[in-house]
Amino acid sequence: MVSTPLSKWKLAAITSAPCGAYMNYAEGLMASNIPTSPQETAVDFQEMGLQDKLLRKPTNQSITRMSVTLQCPGYPEDTLRSLAERLPCRETQLATLLALMGQPDQYSYPSVFIYGHRATGKSHVVLSIMKDLELPHASVDCVECVSSGLLFHQVLSAFFGPDAAALLPRCPSLSDFVRLYKQMSSNSPATQTRYIILDRAERMRDMDFSLLPALLRLQELVNDNVTVILLSEIVWEKFRPNTGCFEPLLFHFPDYSKAELVQILSWDHHPSYTPELYASYINILLGVFFSVCRDLRELRHLAVLNFSKFCEPLEKGEAKESDIHKLWKNIEPHLQRAMQTVYLREVSSVQWEQQQMDEKEATTLRVLSAHAHIELPYYSKFLLIAAYLASFNPARTDRRFFLKSHGKIRKTNFLKKHEKTSNHLLGPKPFPLDRLMAIFYSVVDSRVAPTASIFSQISSLVTLQLLSQVGHDDQLDSPKYKCSVSLDFILAISRTVGFDVVKYLYDFL
């Protein structure tokens, strides 16, 4: 791959996953191109931000560039200002968090539960606050803690050093942790509030049942100035234990509106193009993807991947920067294809980029999904079709479809009432091997002998996971199978053998 400045920038953008690191890089890139400087308006945050959020009015759609002067005694002013600049569209939440935390030596509520959709900046804001203001904190990701001992180890070593963590016994219980913490904190009492940050806290529900209630009231149990902050995507009602627990303070991080997404995504515009061009590109991208996905990380990834294709006409000289309509016409089908491949992770990002460089016409992409390009032998295709018919047709209708001459089938009352629920909605039903062979013989046009090669093809279909075996392996006389293939796939297969499968399906009568 030719490494142009554009590709180098993209590589850096794609590989540096944490939002914070990328933001720093982007800042460095656009050091001289900072978009319009925020007007410093001294707005009382209680009146503006908190009221809006709490009264649940529809948020203001225009991009308000007002930065709120954070009135928080106990922390240096310029640190707060730089912190606020690094967290766009999150000034209100930052101010509320700082108000909850109070001054460093004051007590804070024992536990705070922060919830919101993914990529709304919960971890980013909390960890930035901790790092910039240099507060004593222990940040633990609950996905990494397969056992509670790992959590205890991380907390103790963050607060009291690795020697303290080494004092923990082999499989530490919660009792050991609390005792050790009390011992350590009586040796070195807290001058500032200590924070324990538990990211992806929904995993804690699967750990020991007493871990979550105990951590929520840790301040009371160890008698120290410590606050536990839980970050999660899932609402608090799903965490509450049966007999109740100490209720934490709930705090919501709202999702970004479309205008805010444009504002944030425009931060990482490429240096060799104007910010307006990038902003219009972002608008086009959001026009395609916003109704499907509002996750900031996904949108950023897509923006970075497709920008080179967007700039192709500009590089080739076919269009100018102001010809937005032409650029839109060029990129829109490309984005639609991206939605079906890269967005779904059917194709890896590297493959996608290579696609853009090699093929200039719109050809079908080779997708990862296994079903797309399977080449089956002739009889296997018919076996698969027969299996599909056996799964999705009720057994009593076989006579009608597969016998050369059948009498009139009278529908009883029972059948008429339950016709609405199509079999395609309920899922495939299991069928015995005999039925499969019966349908197979009637579907295949030539005479086929029941040799071992036919039966072994059934086993290979099971291995390919196009059929699945129902019931135990020991049942050798009459094994049961189920067809696990979708309607589109069967239609494609039957087209290749020239068989009209829809005619034989009960639901499409």
């Binding site: 709490l54 919830y115 105990a214 100490f246 709202p254 999702d255 899922g427 129902v470």
Partner: protein, 421 residues
């Protein structure tokens, strides 16, 4: 004679914040617990009898979360330790059901709190009872006449009842029934039916003495309680500031909050209002308390629905329609997709047709948010699209979320409101 410095506004505010935060968050013990006088006297009498006269007792303190059980116990123990005879003799062992999840751990903790680790050393005991008997034996005084009274406090008592065989409870209550050592066993629990959890042999050794804490405050008492929690003490350095603070009027806004009287001693809303006080906003107003109560009573699921994409919202509406049509029976992804396709074909103008895998990804996002849950969350021998699920939202929540959804297309709204899908 101390000269009173005049403090600046900012210093006053920060000092007030510090005091109030310590009182509200760290839950410093008040002098006398509010509206719990009879229970206080009863408990104090019981403990005095154990400490001074050597009687064994067992009692359960039952009350909902936040009704002041630990606080009551703290005040009683503080007064008990101020008695001269009790101070010298009484030993206190505090166990918590959340921390001591096993009887072995509990026994180690008892040994540690009685400071008998050296005495026990490396001895191996046959049973729990032997171990406990040894410990209590070690507490006897030199002339073997009497033993020091021990007060066992068992927090989260109902969790101890889930241990194997309930050995700890059995042995403690056994000791309290026999005349060996004066022992008081105090259990604190939030479950009213805690006695049903006990085995027959344990229940019979328990004295069935229960102290119930149901806060039944009248509105006037509630207002007094809140005022006393939020008022600055008389020895505050700046008397003008503390006067202005103590006399700020927020009584009107307390009426909607009086529904929270059960949690009077766990004041989230008071903390929230106090946290909003700053230099520019230096007294408590009614607006603060009202905002705090609005924050607490917000419906978090409806808030989460606000952040979904249009496609996911359409899927939720499709599921709602399925629930209405089929009376709450579980559905699978194929059915939801079918409903969605019907909507796209017939009624929609703004939403264009999405491929099935894209719709599947949106559905999986809803699964991860736990707004939709599979019916049997264990083994799934069925394909993903055909697994039966249930919607974890109510009809009302969905409609309310739709009202507040930003820029919701009108055809989606119409579809949601229509009775027939």
């Amino acid at each position: 004679m101390s000269k009173r410095r005049s403090l600046t506004e900012a210093q006053c505010v920060s000092l007030a914040q510090k005091l109030l935060r310590e009182r509200l968050c760290h839950q410093k013990l008040p002098d006398r617990p509010l509206a719990l006088d009879s229970q206080y006297k009863h408990l104090l009498e019981l403990l005095r009898r154990t400490a001074v006269h050597g009687e064994s007792n067992s009692v359960l303190i039952v009350g909902p979360r936040g009704s002041g059980k630990t606080m009551l116990l703290g005040c009683v123990l503080r007064e008990l330790m101020s008695l001269k005879e009790a101070q010298k003799n009484v030993l206190l062992v505090e166990l918590n059901g959340l921390l001591q999840t096993d009887d072995k751990i509990a026994l180690k903790e008892i040994t540690r709190q009685l400071h008998l680790e050296n005495v026990v050393g490396d001895k191996v005991f046959g049973s729990f009872a032997e171990n406990l008997a040894f410990l209590l034996e070690a507490l006897k005084k030199g002339d073997k006449s009497s033993s020091r009274p021990v007060v066992f406090v068992l927090d989260e008592f109902d969790l101890f009842a889930h241990h194997k065989n309930q050995t700890l409870l059995y042995n403690l209550l056994d000791v309290s029934q026999s005349a060996q050592t004066p022992v008081a066993v105090l259990g604190l629990t939030c479950r009213l039916d805690v006695l049903e959890l006990l085995e027959k042999r344990v229940k019979s050794r328990f004295s069935h003495r229960q102290i119930h804490l149901f806060s039944s405050l009248s509105f006037a008492q509630y207002v007094d309680a809140v005022r006393s929690q939020l008022s600055l003490p008389p020895d505050f350095p700046d008397p003008k500031f503390s006067d202005a603070w103590n006399h700020s009027s927020y009584t009107q806004s307390l009426f909607p909050l009086s529904a929270f009287t059960a949690g009077i001693f766990k004041p989230i809303h008071l903390f929230l209002s106090v946290s909003r006080v700053s230099v520019s906003h230096s007294t408590l107003h009614e607006a603060d308390l009202l905002e705090a109560s609005r924050l607490i009573s917000a419906d978090s699921k409806a808030i989460i629905l606000h952040g979904l994409s249009i496609l996911e919202l359409c899927l939720i509406i499709a599921m709602k329609h399925l629930n209405d049509t089929y009376d709450g029976e579980p559905f699978n992804f194929q059915m939801v997709h079918n409903e969605f396709k019907k909507f796209i074909q017939r009624k929609s103008h703004s939403i264009h047709k999405f491929e099935k895998p894209v719709v599947m990804k949106a559905f999986e996002h809803l699964l991860q948010l736990e707004l939709v849950r599979p019916v049997d969350s264990g083994v799934c021998k069925v394909q993903r699209e055909y697994q039966l699920m249930r919607l974890m939202l109510e009809h009302g929540q969905v409609m309310e979320a739709l009202q507040r959804y930003p820029q919701c297309p009108t055809d989606v709204k119409q579809w949601a409101l229509s009775a027939f899908a």
